[in-house]
């Protein structure tokens, strides 16, 4: 579909993009608040099995060698610093969400 035969309601698209972005921000920042509450009530947090993969890409990385020992060390570090990892994750995801929002604005701008 080309720019010539695409007609969009700019005001509607802008408002929809903004509302979705703000809703996402609210959900992500609540995650950090929940993590704070969890870290206050329990020093022994049981993380799901896939939590190591979950945190990869957010400041910790898998090792090609000694993977099992490496993963266990990361698991321990995440457990000990759960709150810090959660707030770090929240900011990174907020900016990723912002990037998606700006790409949507770029698309709207291209179709004005």
């Amino acid at each position: 579909m080309t720019k010539q035969n695409t007609t969009i309601n700019i005001s509607h698209e802008l408002n929809h993009a903004k509302t979705s972005f703000i809703n996402d921000l609210e959900r992500i920042s609540k995650y950090a608040v929940i993590a704070e509450q969890v870290s206050k009530i329990s020093s022994e947090i049981q993380l799901p099995e896939n939590s190591i993969e979950f945190f990869f890409g957010f400041g910790i990385h898998s090792s090609p060698t000694n993977a099992k020992e490496h993963d266990e060390a990361i698991q321990q570090e995440v457990l000990e610093n759960y709150y810090e990892y959660s707030t770090r994750y929240a900011v990174i995801v907020m900016i990723t969400t912002c990037e998606m929002y700006l790409i949507r604005l770029l698309w709207i701008a291209k179709n004005m």
């Binding site: 950090a32 770090r88 929240a90 907020m94 900016i95 700006l102 949507r104 004005m112």
Partner: protein, 161 residues
């Protein structure tokens, strides 16, 4: 517009945005609408983006990549401050206000300043402040594009909600 149509139409924008930093995306949008997008929030937004890079690539350890020419790392965000007759109030809970006094809110910019070698650690309240700041940023971006759109007369492409 269906989700699939939106996805297809957005492919070009996504391709162009690949490997583009978030602040550069704002510049690209400015170029598309033919007007420079600038508002007071932009330096604040850029500081949050820099903090993201430090958290993602250096686990919050402030490196030489993160500091400015004065050797400082600054993370800025906006918060709301309660005022009574223009005077800022630190304590909100249990605040007593006399009849006839004016209660108000104003935006203030707060900062977290660190040096190389220190570690950036954020609280849940910090995350909420960052979310609040980014929400304000989106309102400004929307306004900038709407203003540009009003200058371009394309029948059917712009309608007030």
């Amino acid at each position: 517009m269906s989700g699939q149509q939106f996805y297809d139409l957005g492919a070009e924008a996504r391709k162009e945005a690949r490997y583009t930093s978030v602040p550069k995306l704002v510049e690209k949008i400015s170029k598309e609408i033919g007007e420079e997008i600038y508002f007071d929030d932009l330096p604040i937004f850029n500081s949050i983006y820099n903090a993201r890079n430090c958290l993602a690539h250096r686990r919050g350890e402030i490196g030489k990549e993160d500091i400015d020419e004065n050797g400082d790392f600054k993370l800025l965000w906006k918060t709301l401050q309660l005022t009574v007759d223009g005077a800022p109030q630190e304590q909100i809970r249990g605040l007593y206000v006399e009849a006839g006094n004016q209660v108000g809110f104003r935006f203030i910019v707060s900062e977290k300043k660190l040096s190389a070698g220190e570690k950036l650690v954020l609280t849940a309240q910090d995350c909420q402040n960052i979310a609040f700041t980014l929400a304000g940023f989106s309102a400004n971006m929307t306004k900038a594009i709407e203003n540009a759109a009003r200058k371009i007369i394309v029948p059917g492409s712009f309608a007030s909600q």
